[in-house]
Symmetry: C2
Subunit: 157 residues, 2 copies
DNA sequence: ATATAAAAAGAACATTATTCTGTTATTAAC
DNA sequence: GTTAATAACAGAATAATGTTCTTTTTATAT
């Protein structure tokens, strides 16, 4: 990220955020500009890493990933810190890894097929990571919202 | 969701998960089948809601959303429960709302520009929701991973 | 076996992506 | 202000892809 985004960039991001498959021509029509110009902007947004990725959100239930949990992981900061987060991130069931304030630890988001698989993960993957002192697991019963859409302002600054 | 996904469906999902803008022809080439057949499958995956959405992941920093937090929200279950989750989900800064076990409460994920905006949100939006007994806020210092990609099996059952 | 339905292929056509070139704004320096 | 340099945009041409429809194949159940 380097440059500042202007109002057209923000409009483009707004149109794309919840519809990654919208086409250039459609964006161009809505903005009243040429498709080639829009394409140029989108490519720059990718280069600047204002756009991180285009992802297809898959229903976890459709692939039998019924269980969602959050786990607080307390870390011995002398041993781990830098490395621990990266090791956690390498576990495929771990969808998010956040370094959090206060407890010398991480908060991770984990998806598994069921509670058995969660226990397996904790026994096999987590316990092998050096520096983990303790964990506390939060079980999700039901998810009301999970779209991660950001609020895109009309302009910046 | 109704039907079971077969191996081809899973391969398609695998190709699309981290590249929502991959085109039909490309998928067809990789699978050795006709574009029209792939299109048909993708449309069915959308209908079955195995595919929830195509989203563009935007770098929060690019739009000045520098702060990420998780908030535990304890709810008086007699008053709120059903409604509270929906009200939380309506707040635009709230990206995720999870109903969690144990504490009669929710865990929400919140993005704001800074800590001031977080305090504003708690004072204005959260405090107006009936039935919230208490909150506990977790501040994220740094995010190591946040792609939410699921593990897609080669086949189901 | 045969009927039925689902899945896939193939062809034809519509739409979009992409590249290239020329033009118009914008910006910064003087 | 003028000018040089750069960035943004438009337009046109071509390549590639999307989409629809029809036919054929495959799978399933009876």
């Amino acid at each position: 990220m380097e440059y500042k985004l202007d109002e057209i960039d923000l409009k483009i991001l707004g149109m794309m955020q919840n519809n990654a498959r919208i086409n250039n021509s459609e964006i161009a029509r809505e903005l009243g500009m040429a498709p080639s110009a829009v394409l140029e902007r989108v490519k720059k947004l990718e280069q600047k890493e204002a756009i991180i990725a285009y992802s297809t959100r898959i229903n976890p239930k459709a692939i039998n990933q019924k269980m969602l949990s959050f786990i607080f992981i307390k870390v011995d900061e002398i041993i781990g810190d830098e490395k621990t987060g990266r090791l956690l991130a390498e576990i495929p069931e771990v969808l998010e890894v956040h370094d959090i304030a206060g407890d010398d630890g991480y908060l991770i988001k984990v998806r598994t097929s069921d509670s058995l698989a969660l226990v397996d993960l904790m026994r096999n993957s987590l316990s092998r990571i050096q520096g983990i002192i303790s964990t506390r697991t939060i079980i999700v019963l039901q998810t009301v919202k999970e779209d991660n859409s950001l609020i895109i302002p009309e302009k910046i600054e």
